[in-house]
Symmetry: C2
Subunit: 101 residues, 2 copies
DNA sequence: AAAACCAATCGTATATTTACGATTAACTAT
DNA sequence: ATAGTTAATCGTAAATATACGATTGGTTTT
């Protein structure tokens, strides 16, 4: 029973880590996260200005990062301010650190 | 010039990190890496026995991990022994640690 | 109310990923 | 030489990811 639980937990944390890794698996998304984590929150428009891709594509990447739980949006009408989701950021950090020992 | 170099370096390490993240973005590959990193090297056949997927699929995942540089194969005929590529493992560890601060 | 602005979503095309069974390649052992 | 073992590769199908322009939905400003 204990083993089963542990295996299940392990499988779950592996799923979760894979989900985070998937979100990190694109240079554009890494750049977005880097911008958000170093220069604090920013608006979608700021990102669109900086990144060499279409607005709709930036939105798509933001959606994926949001779905993975790494960022969160906050309405500041008519703009939307994105920030790192600190809780999951920490969770991801711990998962990766533990994985690499 | 300095800035350009730095940007290039930054872009490169982001590319490299994305490459590693992509390799980590699948539960099966995480499991393979976990097995290799905790119980040392093992043969493809050992992995095929443990994993609930076809041999050809395991081979495909191994190929991706090899291409990402996270593992390396060594012929021990007629088997092939896979191990963690320590140098790149360390590199990935550092990249992720630096990324999450 | 109308015009303007911002960002998400839609529709779409193309590329990549994931999985499988079947086959092939390389080597060992008989 | 032949048979057997091991793992990679091929061919293929289905799902997912990536990118774009166009459109839509909210909100604000005029």
């Amino acid at each position: 029973m204990k083993v089963l639980t542990e295996q299940k937990f392990s499988a779950n944390s592996q799923e979760e880590m894979a989900k985070f890794a998937k979100a990190l698996a694109h240079p554009t998304r890494l750049e977005i996260l880097r911008l958000l984590s170093t220069q604090s929150c920013c608006f979608t428009g700021d990102l669109v200005e900086v990144l060499p891709i279409a607005q709709s594509t930036v939105s798509q990447h933001l959606k994926e990062l949001k779905n993975a739980g790494l960022i969160q949006g906050e309405i500041d009408a008519p703009k939307i301010k994105y920030c790192i989701n600190q809780e999951n950021w920490r969770k991801a950090k711990l998962l990766f650190a533990a994985f690499f020992e």
